[in-house]
């Protein structure tokens, strides 16, 4: 009942609205236009740009999140001391609100901020503006870094839980049989981490596709919208700036369909590679 009310109903309502033309402020009844909103979107360069931008952001962030959190989890799990401290340190950004996180990173990426100072110190190029909030590729990278910083700890904790559930006897048996650390990881640990990796992959991908606050705050702070106009930001602009709630609903439904398809694909791929040593 609870799930139906708060999850299914909004989706069905958005689906219904996506077939109508409605001005958000108008009190007039919505006008049925069939697939008109979808037709408009598929012919709109702004929509295709949003799709591309979402793909770039999701691809880049997803790879960094999954890869980095696995590496960090392996590193932390191998430590005998400071495990709790390291878990807490990496997890803490996850409890910071995305708005606050974006605000902090806006200061870091400001032309006079730490990002330029750090890169210029390392590269020995004083006074160079790396244009973090301006140049399209740097802007995309900047939003990815914010997201990775915020969520890498969260996924690290999930991986640590997955690693700790692998029987130590299997790892020790492999080492006794003469397997190197590298071989032990690839032949024992990684295959047994598949369910955790699947969970992390699905959650991380959905999380990346739903990104909004970082891009919103960056565009509000003066950055050009085009390079970071992910689908969710486009939904916001279509509804709140252009008042086209039907068209915004159609965009949401497309995003929902993409999420559904990619999640299904991941489950499908993972099922075909299931491993068990028991």
């Amino acid at each position: 009942m609870f799930f139906g009310l708060f999850s299914i109903y909004p989706v069905l309502n958005a689906l219904y609205l996506s077939f109508f033309q409605k001005h958000l402020l108008s009190t007039a009844a919505p006008r049925f236009i069939g697939f008109g909103n979808y037709q408009y979107l598929f012919q709109s360069p702004t929509f295709w740009n949003s799709l591309t931008v979402t793909g770039i952001f999701t691809g880049g962030t997803f790879a960094m999140l999954v890869g980095l959190s696995l590496v960090l989890a392996l590193f932390i799990s191998s430590r005998k001391r400071f495990q709790r401290f390291l878990q807490l340190a990496f997890f803490s950004p996850a409890v910071v609100s995305t708005v606050v996180a974006a605000a902090i990173w806006l200061l870091i990426f400001d032309p006079r901020g730490i990002a330029n100072q750090l890169v210029n110190t390392l590269a020995g190029t004083p006074g160079v503006d790396r244009r973090w909030l301006v140049a399209p590729s740097m802007l995309q990278l900047a939003t990815m870094l914010v997201y990775v910083w915020k969520y890498v700890g969260y996924f690290t904790i999930i991986f640590i839980a997955g690693i700790s559930s692998i029987p130590r006897s299997l790892v020790e048996a492999a080492r006794v049989d003469g397997a190197s650390v590298w071989q032990t990881f690839w032949k024992v640990t990684f295959p047994l981490l598949k369910p955790t990796t699947l969970l992390v992959s699905v959650v991380a991908m959905i999380q990346c596709l739903r990104t909004f606050s970082t891009q919103y705050l960056f565009s509000q702070a003066g950055s050009p919208r085009g390079p970071i106009d992910v689908i969710t930001l486009n939904v916001y602009h279509t509804a709140v700036r252009t008042f086209q709630i039907g068209r915004a609903s159609a965009l949401s439904i497309i995003l929902f369909a993409i999420m559904l398809f990619l999640s299904w694909l991941q489950f499908r791929v993972a099922r075909s590679e299931e491993v068990s040593y028991l």
Binding site: P111, R112, P126, G127, L133, P224, R225
Partner: protein, 425 residues
């Protein structure tokens, strides 16, 4: 004397209609303004004391968020009883029938015409429709240029004579004033008020004979040469040109008051004076700042200042008639103190009696604002203006930050703006 008499008549009228009626609760949403809050809370206390059956709840939202908060509330049928919005954002509410007209007797006037006559000509046009008035102005200002004289002198310029009169001079003077460390700007000479393009960017285009909309409102982007000159200017201003400023730097007007050698000139309204006084009394008293008129291009064909920037108090059409009446009475009560809004908050309510008063004449740089207002006008209103603002933002950032040529940015702007217009035809 005349004003005092008018005030008494209005209070009497309000008193006569006060009845021991049902309790009325008024929800009032407005944007944050630290100087205005204590004043309006005082008015609320006084009004509630006069009419104990009325309760007013004042809620503030950040300026950048109030438009979307209101929009979602109205879309859900849960809008407040009264609110104020910048005129371009407010206009769709009027066109879509979401706001209620006032009755002149509720606000102490005999007729709508007498209200129109009390205000500066044309200033009520955005809220006047089919013989009815749907709003009263909280403030109407134009944006002029605030200057820190100290930094002009530092680079050998005389603030009295060498201040920029034209946009070309603005660029020259800013090049002298700017301090950089490599590419990174440490002090800006001047910087624009990015985001509010309808007010200043369109004025620049109009100086050169261009316009955003044709007079019949059917075609967007008029006068290519004017647009191209302005877009080229912005391209030169940005980090890919002479690197004098950028939308990604902290807004110049937010830094100006602190006098920390970060910005010399900014574009802002009359209210900035009250904010300097509050945020940095020493700088306010120092006499080291001044206000100069909105510049024009050397080849301008029209001598126009920035467009009016205004906020109007409006009333929710979905509120009960009784609530609408008391809300308008409350608005009239607050707005019957234009001199306090002027002296304590720095807001100009465009009433003829206020603009002719000694109080207005005594305001620092009131004459500069008055002369800029005389060459200013309201922007051509359209229900899609909030969307047009976004398109202008895209065009400016494309040339300033993304390396798009002015020609290409103009072509995109034209295509998108005319597509939007077509949807409203």
């Amino acid at each position: 004397m005349k004003r005092a008499a008018w005030f008494l008549v209005m209070l009497l009228a309000l008193g006569l209609v006060a009845t021991a009626a049902n309790p009325v609760k008024i929800t009032f949403w407005t944007h944050e303004d630290p100087n205005r809050t204590p004043l309006e809370e005082e008015y609320i206390r006084r009004f509630q004391a006069l009419y104990p059956h009325v309760t007013i709840e004042r809620v503030t939202y950040p300026s950048a968020r109030i438009a979307e908060v209101l929009l979602t509330a109205f879309a859900a049928g849960k809008g407040p009883d009264m609110f104020n919005l910048e005129v371009n954002d407010a206009y769709p509410y009027l066109v879509m029938g979401r706001v209620a007209p006032l009755r002149p007797e509720w606000v102490g006037y005999a007729s709508v015409d007498s209200i129109l006559g009390a205000y500066l000509g044309g200033t009520l046009d955005p809220v006047y429709r089919d013989g009815k008035l749907y709003g009263l102005p909280l403030e109407l200002t134009i944006w002029s240029v605030f200057v820190n004289e100290k930094y002009l002198r530092e680079v050998g310029l005389d603030p009295d004579t060498d201040y920029p009169h034209t946009w070309e001079q603005m660029m020259e003077v800013s090049e002298k004033l700017v301090i950089r460390e490599g590419d990174i700007i440490k002090r800006r000479g001047f910087d624009f008020r990015y985001g509010y393009y309808v007010e200043w960017l369109l004025a620049m285009v109009e100086q050169l004979g261009g316009a955003f909309l044709s007079p019949d409102g059917q075609t967007a982007v008029i006068g290519d040469e004017a647009w191209l000159q302005v877009l080229r200017y912005m391209q030169q201003w940005g980090p890919l040109g002479k690197n004098l400023g950028s939308p990604t730097y902290t807004p110049a007007r937010n830094l100006f008051n602190y006098d920390r050698n970060e910005v010399t000139m900014c574009l802002t309204g009359f209210y900035q004076i009250a904010r300097i006084r509050t945020q940095n009394p020493a700088f306010y008293e120092s006499g080291e700042w001044m206000v100069i008129p909105f510049p024009v291009f050397e080849n301008a064909v029209n001598d126009v200042a920035s467009h009016y920037y205004g906020h109007y108090y409006m009333v929710n059409a979905q509120s009960s008639l009784e609530t609408q009446e008391w809300t308008w009475r409350f608005i009239a009560y607050m707005l019957s103190n234009p001199e306090e809004y002027l002296t304590r908050v720095g807001l100009i309510q465009p009433r003829k009696d206020l603009l002719a008063s000694d109080v207005y004449a005594a305001q620092p740089y009131g004459d500069v604002f008055a002369s800029d207002m005389a060459r200013s006008s309201l922007v051509q209103l359209h229900v899609a203006n909030p969307e047009f603002k976004q398109l202008l933002d895209e065009a400016v950032k494309a040339v300033m930050l993304q390396g798009v040529t002015p020609e290409a940015a103009l072509a995109t702007l034209r295509t998108k703006a005319n597509e939007v217009l077509a949807e409203y035809k």
